[in-house]
């Protein structure tokens, strides 16, 4: 360890919990913050604190939002009978940027992943199915990532809703194999939304 200081170690650990950050990057970030003038660190901490205190989970779609319900769920002009299911808020952000989607979202905050101990309960799927009934949804578009777990989650949703009136479709084209939605460009995503297919 660089400084042999418990508080620095704690900061490095905090960075390491962020997605995609390894030990070395975490050390670089921590040391960078500590080397800058004190205000920089204070601003950083403040920004995290303020954003977190203003952000809630939307009670309808579970997306991160500044209000509950979120601006999408509260928007009367959007088509509330269509719900796009994404793994993470970043997926919803990417599709919003695409601009061609006018339905609503549902954020799972994960996918079915037995190895990580994530099952239907952990994803709160019961309350998702309740929402679909309550809001009279007629179509869900499953936009989970094209990974083994994303595909299995899509399959699970399709099987669970097979007896219902709700049509389950899956975005298909253009999403990179094994890749996350946030890495797809706008054109690709817009194409993927149009090329969605029914899961049988």
């Amino acid at each position: 360890m660089l400084l042999n200081s418990p508080s620095v170690e704690q900061l490095i650990e905090a960075f390491r919990r962020l997605p995609g950050v390894g030990k070395r990057s975490a050390e670089r970030m921590a040391i960078h913050l500590l080397s800058e003038p004190e205000e920089v660190a204070a601003e950083f901490a403040q920004a995290v604190h303020v954003a977190r205190s203003r952000i809630v989970h939307c009670g309808v779609c579970r997306n991160l939002a500044e209000s509950d319900p979120c601006s999408v769920c509260a928007d009367e002009r959007r088509d509330h009978s269509v719900v796009c299911v994404v793994e993470q808020p970043t997926g919803a952000m990417a599709i919003e940027k695409g601009g061609s989607y006018n339905g609503t979202y549902h954020v799972l905050h994960g996918v079915l992943n037995p190895l990580d101990g994530v099952g239907p309960q952990e994803l709160h799927l019961d309350s998702f199915f309740e929402r679909l009934q309550r809001d009279g949804v007629r179509e869900i578009i499953v936009a989970t990532n094209a990974t083994a777990e994303g595909e299995a989650t899509a399959m699970y949703l399709s099987r669970q809703l097979a007896q219902s009136e709700i049509q389950v479709t899956r975005i298909a084209h253009g999403v990179p194999m094994g890749g996350g939605l946030e890495f797809a460009d706008d054109v690709t995503l817009s194409h993927a939304m149009q090329g969605r297919t029914k899961i049988d």
């Binding site: 037995p114 990974t147 083994a148 299995a152």
Partner: protein, 357 residues
């Protein structure tokens, strides 16, 4: 194709190596634990991104270092290729002609290799997992889609097995993984089937060359056949799987059966016959790659002479076509009677240092 230059630093005990092998025979000789196998391992790693000896990649880094570098110049019929494989602080990086590659599938097949080690001599009598590994290694090198399907299949299998292991396996939860198993597994089966169909006549011929009148046949024992209803088989196996807490059906249970004169080679053949069959398989592989890509792969023989009797060693050397670049490691530098008049370059390896002699 052949390797015209091989350089590496800090790969296992190979501190600093820079050699220019001949396009024909290359003998790397030295005592035990001097780095002979590591040299072949470095070539394998640069061409396949994997080691044949370890899955713990930190093992590959030389003592006390933070990483290693491997560089290969490769000469092919129509082009030359430079390959770089580096590891630094746990991160692997690959370059082809100086350009960074992000996917393993982009480096595979840039140069084809056939690797023959003492473990391969037990290919015929060893466990089915060894034969599946053989199939996977060969097919991954030549078909990027095979490798992708293999990785996906393994991941889905791990997930389904985890459900079974945790006793959380109700049939509905198992089912959602099965379509993907069928999709990726089906592709594996299709390619394995085709591969063995193509390899069989080549292996039969090679075995005749080694063992004379006896006839070798091989048969693909697919746990789920190419024309079976994969999803249906999995659905039917669910109750068994739940009881046994593991996925019992699929290409992860495949095998290859070798028969010599109609008898199963694993149980009925002599050790000599088994070795000849394994040799024939490797020689068939050389020809198969040639058929596929239009030129012979690089042949690497790791200490196989210690395992083969003089007669079989003779036959092996005789059967290697003259156009093949061969890199052979051995503890005995006297190979004259085996090599006959073939041009050869000899390298001595001692404590990780390689010198041309």
């Amino acid at each position: 194709m052949d390797i015209t230059r091989f350089k590496c630093t800090a790969f296992r005990c190979l501190s600093d190596v820079d050699i220019s092998p001949s396009p024909a025979f290359n003998v790397i000789y030295g005592g035990n634990a001097q780095g002979k196998t590591s040299l072949l391992e470095a070539i394998l790693f640069a061409t396949t991104s994997k080691s044949h000896r370890t899955t713990q990649e930190s093992d590959l880094v030389g003592h006390g270092g933070e990483g290693f570098q491997i560089h290969l110049d490769v000469h092919r019929q129509d082009r030359t290729i430079q390959l770089d494989a580096n590891m630094y602080r746990g991160a692997k990086r690959f370059k082809v002609n100086g350009i960074a590659q992000s996917r393993v599938s982009d480096i595979l097949g840039k140069i084809n290799t056939v690797f023959f080690s003492p473990e391969d001599i037990t290919l015929v009598k060893g466990s089915a997992s060894q034969r599946r590994k053989f199939l996977d290694m060969e097919l991954s090198q030549l078909h990027a889609p095979y490798l992708m399907a293999l990785q996906q299949y393994r991941q889905v299998l791990r997930q389904r097995n985890e459900l079974l292991r945790r006793n959380q396996a109700d049939p509905a939860m198992l089912e959602i993984w099965e379509e993907q198993l069928a999709q990726h597994g089906g592709l594996l089966i299709e390619h394995r089937h085709e591969f063995i169909e193509e390899l069989t006549p080549l292996a039969v011929e090679a075995y005749h060359g080694i063992a004379g009148a006896e006839t070798l046949t091989l048969q693909y024992l697919a746990d789920i056949g190419p024309s079976d209803d994969f999803v249906g088989v999995l659905a039917k196996a669910r109750q068994t799987d739940i009881r046994r807490k593991v996925t019992t059906r699929g290409p992860h249970r495949d095998d290859i059966e070798f028969m010599i004169d109609g008898q199963p080679a694993r149980s009925k053949a002599s050790q000599g016959q088994q070795k000849s069959a394994a040799l024939a398989l490797k020689l068939a592989e050389l020809e198969w790659v040639k058929q596929r890509v239009g030129e012979y792969p690089v042949l690497m023989l790791d200490e196989v002479l210690a395992e083969l009797d003089p007669e079989r060693s003779q036959q092996l050397f005789k059967a290697i076509p003259h156009e093949v670049q061969c890199i052979i490691t051995t503890t005995q530098p006297q190979l004259d009677d085996l090599l006959q008049d073939r041009p050869v370059m000899v390298f001595q390896i001692e404590q990780g240092k390689v010198t041309a002699t």
